[in-house]
Symmetry: C2
Subunit: 326 residues, 2 copies
């Protein structure tokens, strides 16, 4: 399967960098690709303010893609979250597809609910499709492969950001999804993979590759605020606060706003009330990019426990590769 991954993605090491909204840029993404993994640009890559409209957003991303090209000639990907399987309801994904065609970006991570229409459209344009369900299931795995997905990501509850709503941990989701894929395509494990041990465990569970968020965000090259990196080095999974929100739960380093959200959650606030109170997704920018936990939150996966330093992407990949079977 390792050779198959190299054929599909064109990368030397079976590791995909998980993109977070606001928290990628060309410098970081090219560092991952240059080190042999797959760097991925996420929404608002290289930005500090939300684009005013779709056209500006697309042009900003075009600039960031071109910047990546000045820093690496290795493959990299773009993260896209379809809003609907019905193209009439989703002009957004069509715009990203056209951008990728124009700029010749060859790999897309389609994240969220299953959208077979979009898997088909990207495939029609010769783009490699990595499907990452918000909640991986036997059914959406089989359906995504049937629709043409080249790689499946099995994301466990141990990850950071928008966690899978069924609460199925990495330890349990990986064998379930590996069995569902029946060897038809490679399965990448996500959630808590941050050192040699956890990388080795992912392969023991049947994974063919690793999808890594938190560990890479802690790299020197990542746009995450340095102050947040310093806090995260000292923290472990016991320290994170977990509160309900849309669509499930979020975890964050403790701080003024996260602690308030935890208290609201315990007191029975609705998911929608919490989503508003956390300043929706802009709270991620304020907390993680700007390092302000009075207005934002700082979401990490549970792999935070085994991360003890801020170091170059290349060293992180070396560490993870110690867990990859020869």
């Amino acid at each position: 399967m390792k050779r198959k991954i190299k054929e599909i993605l064109g990368i030397d090491k079976p590791i995909i960098q998980g993109p977070l909204n606001w928290l990628t840029d060309a410098h970081y993404v090219s560092a991952v690709s240059n080190a042999g993994g797959l760097g991925v640009l996420g929404l608002n890559a290289g930005e500090r303010e939300s684009a005013k409209n779709m056209e500006e957003r697309i042009n900003n991303m075009r600039r960031e893609i071109r910047r990546v090209r000045t820093m690496t000639d290795k493959p990299f990907g773009l993260n896209v979250a379809p809003q609907s399987n019905d193209p009439a309801l989703d002009k957004y994904t069509e715009a990203w597809l056209q951008l990728m065609v124009e700029e010749e970006v060859k790999i897309v991570i389609l994240v969220g609910d299953l959208a077979p229409y979009w898997i088909g459209r990207f495939k029609d344009h010769g783009i490699v499709v990595v499907f990452r369900a918000l909640q991986p299931t036997v059914d959406n795995t089989k359906a995504a492969i049937d629709a043409g997905a080249d790689i499946i990501v099995a994301t466990g509850f141990d990850e950071g950001g928008t966690v899978p709503y069924q609460g199925i941990g990495t330890f349990s989701i990986v064998p379930l999804i590996v069995d569902a894929a029946e060897g038809r395509v490679p399965v990448f494990a996500a959630g808590g993979i941050a050192d040699a041990r956890t990388a080795k465990a992912a392969f023991a569970l049947g994974a063919d590759g690793l999808y890594v968020g938190t560990a890479f965000m802690m790299a020197i090259e990542s746009p995450l605020a340095h102050g947040i990196k310093v806090l995260a080095v000292e923290a472990n999974a016991n320290d994170l606060v977990m509160y309900r929100t849309v669509p499930a739960f979020y975890r964050s380093l403790p701080g003024e706003l996260p602690n308030k959200l935890l208290a609201m959650s315990k007191a029975g606030a609705t998911e929608e009330e919490l989503f508003e109170a956390q300043n929706t997704y802009v709270g991620m920018r304020d907390g993680m990019l700007f390092g302000d936990l009075s207005k934002g939150y700082a979401s990490f996966g549970l792999g935070i426990s085994v991360i003890h330093s801020i170091r170059p992407v290349a060293e992180i990949i070396d560490e993870l590769m110690k867990g990859v079977p020869a």
Copy 2:
């Protein structure tokens, strides 16, 4: 560490059977011990009705301990959940300790919040102490070892029953607790361990042994209702419903009562309201021992996905041992 486990527990294979309230008896526990693991009697072992008072409860357990002795000469343990670290507030744990001394049961699983007083008391009587925190942390791991615990169980959110309230999956809790133990005592991993892959992954994460609930409950010898076993063979982690309750969350096979609890949970019912509505812990008896999901629930760990048959305990242990390093 493997030899150390044999010295501490007197068993050949590094596997402890997790006891569930209502769902153990002498037949089942002795089968685990005879197959080389550690069988453990849980509360209400061999019972179908709650004892009227503490004296009756202790005498029922005395009878069950003696029944185990007629079926095996191998070591076995007793599960005890201290109510308080203050002995004046916990006559209950003193009664269990006296029973163990009288009946010469040599291994206790102390489950729940850290109670250093009780760890010390059991140790004073020459009883081996396995500490299983409801929520494992760096702090309670270190404190339990300092108080004399011989083995630590690192329980992940992937388990069944009363799941750890911080939501830290098996994949992430095991390395955290292994590092906290610093090699002073063996660490057993719990939560989702149900086949050779998951056993292998637990060791990759740094565990020294396995603590196995759901996989053993699905054995021919276990008192779990046959109808529930049949449903569970067909189910996977995607099928389980998860609802809030005291003290955190519960997972169950779907059914009349569990579906109602899920709806109540989504509608914002408090943990206490849900605990009452699920018929507290008696709901476990009604659902799992009697197989009635209109009055009870049927809690499983997420390892349910990889369990495809009802078979003898000895075969389950053979399967798990394929994941144990030589």
